[in-house]
């Protein structure tokens, strides 16, 4: 194969330097798979002209409405090997844990049907297998599914769910992120494979407020572990820590960094006003030998995070301050909330309107009514400052409805007597 003839003067410069070079790896792969050589040649042309040559479209495996990121090259005549060069999104193992054999199986499938290149992992959490034409893509998907893998999400449906490492290797995890990831993925796999929402819906699962899954800014429904009893304190370990680091350091770096100033150092002992602790994790992170999350654990459910397009960056906000996630019943309660959100947003959301944008449009109060949740002061940073409120208790009579019962409100007269049926004898 003519890879040694690859002329890549710009990309060649990315072979230098200490960080592992994707160009070097792809060049070696080009010796085995000529399409990877053409992939590099097209990329070289992008570098030269600062222009992109991929066109996206929708191709689906029968029975699926997503999971394939179809790419056709605009330079298909020049680079026929990449004329069709699709990506298959494959649902990752929760927590990104793998056996070497499972990954070798992905290598086998990607080499048999595609370009033998992949990314671990995409921003969505999926494993990305690159470089399939229309026909081989179908075969590769079949092989993947035969071996227990499944296609990831794309389009206007529930998306693949990534999570942090959770209880598998972290002492901070307040619920089982891996188990909930698998539960949600499997339970709602139909919504993932056959998109039917106004727009995409992403969960990201983090076991504590450190939010290693970056859920709060990247997902429509972040699930962030927390606890509702007291922080566990090992005072002997506190004493050892204070002795080692010194009082001044502990005050400067632990107690004075507490966002609610609820933790105090009394000599070499820690005192915490747990009622005012907001579960930010800072003191636990710094003094993790002495402090630990409480024992009554669960998660805070948030809603409405997303990145920039169209309405600008949005960080999710609190929807359910505390949700237990330790039993079948708790999982069912959580699912109930999720399904009511999908029902309400699915019914009233506009085309291409993320749930956060939907809440901005209809109001969080209306949204809570729609999904059957009670308002809670933990949902807001502050109550409203403007007086432009439509109190339902004081509502003017609707033309076709019950007259209001409250005093001190100007009675609105119907425009025409015959339209007004409310109080007619």
């Amino acid at each position: 194969m003519p890879d040694n003839e690859l002329k890549l003067p710009l990309l060649d410069q990315l072979e230098e330097g200490p960080w592992p070079s994707f160009v070097k790896d792809l060049k070696e792969q080009a010796a085995r798979r000529p399409q990877v050589g053409q992939l590099l040649e097209q990329l070289e042309q992008s570098y030269e002209n600062r222009w992109d040559y991929w066109r996206g479209t929708a191709i689906n495996v029968p029975g699926y409405g997503g999971g394939i990121i179809a790419r056709y090259s605009d330079l298909g005549e020049k680079f026929p090997q990449v004329a069709q060069f699709h990506t298959i999104r494959v649902i990752e193992s929760p927590g990104f844990v793998y056996s070497a054999d499972a990954l070798r199986q992905l290598c086998d499938i990607s080499e048999e049907y595609g370009a033998g290149i992949m990314q671990l992992h995409g921003m969505t959490g999926d494993i990305l297998l690159l470089g399939y034409d229309n026909e081989k893509m179908m075969d590769a998907c079949e092989a993947l599914m035969d071996n227990g893998w499944d296609l990831g999400g794309s389009g206007n449906g529930m998306r693949t769910i990534p999570c942090c490492i959770g209880p598998a290797r972290c002492e901070m995890a307040c619920y089982d992120t891996l188990m909930l990831t698998k539960y949600l993925t499997d339970k709602y796999i139909g919504y993932l494979h056959r998109p039917e929402f106004p727009y995409k819906f992403k969960f990201k699962l983090s076991g504590c407020g450190n939010d290693c899954a970056n859920s709060v800014s990247r997902s429509d429904m972040p699930v962030i572990g927390t606890w509702r009893d007291d922080i566990q304190v090992d005072q002997e370990a506190v004493t050892r820590f204070v002795k080692e680091m010194g009082q001044e350091w502990v005050i400067g770096n632990v107690t004075s960094r507490c966002p609610t100033r609820c933790i105090h150092l009394n000599g070499d002992q820690i005192e915490i006003d747990n009622r005012n602790c907001v579960r930010c994790m800072h003191c636990i992170n710094v003094m993790h030998l002495a402090l630990a999350p409480g024992k009554d654990r669960g998660a805070t459910l948030l809603i409405g995070g997303k990145r920039t397009v169209r309405s600008g960056d949005m960080v999710a906000s609190v929807l359910v301050p505390f949700q237990k996630l330790d039993s079948d019943g708790a999982y069912r309660a959580f699912s109930g909330i999720v399904e009511r959100i999908w029902d309400f947003w699915g019914e009233h959301g506009n085309e291409h309107e993320r749930v956060g944008e939907f809440i901005d449009r209809v109001g969080l109060g209306t949204f809570l009514d729609g999904v059957g949740l009670e308002p809670d002061p933990q949902m807001v940073a502050n109550p409203r400052s403007n007086p432009f409120i439509k109190f339902e208790e004081y509502a003017a009579p609707r033309l076709d409805g019950e007259p209001h019962k409250a005093a001190n409100v100007l009675n609105r007269e119907p425009d025409r007597e015959e339209d007004y049926e409310g109080e007619q004898p």
């Binding site: 290598c107 499944d150 942090c164 209880p167 970056n214 397009v309 960056d313």
Partner: protein, 358 residues
Amino acid sequence: MNAKKPLAPRDNGAPDYKNYLHPAMERNYGRWKYHRGIRPGVFVHVSDSGESLYTVRAGSPRMLSAPLLRRVCDIADKFCQGRLRFTSRNNIEFQVEKEEDIQPLIDEIGRVLRFPVGGTGRSFHNIIHTQGWLHCNLPGTDAAGVVKSLMDLFYEEFTHENFPQRVKVSTSCCTINCGGQTDIAVNLQHHHPPAIDHVTINRCELPKVISICPVLAIRPDRTGGRDTVEVVEEKCMYCGACHAQCPALEIRDGDTDTLSIWVGGKSASTRGGPSFMRLATWGLPNNPPRWPEVGDAVRRILKAYQAGANEYERVGEWIGRIGWKNFFAETGFEFTKYHIDSYRWARTTFNTSAHVRL
């Protein structure tokens, strides 16, 4: 041709992670007591059973050929009982139960993979990024090349933990901005309204094209006897939402698209909670293959941060303390009218007090 099985939805769901856990993870699932760093890129988790699990974190370029991934797997077989994990920032984590296995493992990672070990704690973490020119249909710039260039520049910062706090970076290739809120982000800016192809636009659903515009700048139109749209240029803010909906509205321009640097984002609820990234500097040339101007700008921010931040302060928290006036003074970036927000929540970003640093 071969008779093929009919394709049908199998709906397998997520892989069963229980089969993929390292044996020590399986034994100590939910029982971990604490962890501590041993050296940059290496940390240990200790269980209440007394068992220890040592993790070595290696930075990967995310894109892996099958032969390279097989070499990764061989190392996992040799040292880690055939198990391994990835992080959300594209690192590979190899785990061993014995402390004496750490150095041979690191040596093997260096010799076989040439991957650096680091990216933990107070280091310059591996960069999360998108596809870029390599495989996306929307990008104005590349991702993997920008990342490679930056990671080469900050290789020492990846393999050491010399910052006041962790530094997380992301890059994006269009204004969709796939990355999360990070300490430093490299994003692309467009500078023109979309150029409309009135012929190929007939492949798009025009009502969808019109309704996707967040500022209602797109209106139905007829040109040359064809149904098409027009863009009110004064309203258009070059976000590119329409381009993602319909490729006939071309928002990119290889000659004029530029890069900008954003600072101070954070996802964790630690201390002050999550924060948005804010514009630090703009108008950097989209300059492949090495984007040196981007590297210079990032270095300026890192230098000022390293010199001025207190322990545990993320970039955004450092700026919150010293104020934007001092941030611009320390970095030397010019503050311009373009730094002042003009979109939906602009007023919430103004200084509505008499707090000024003089």
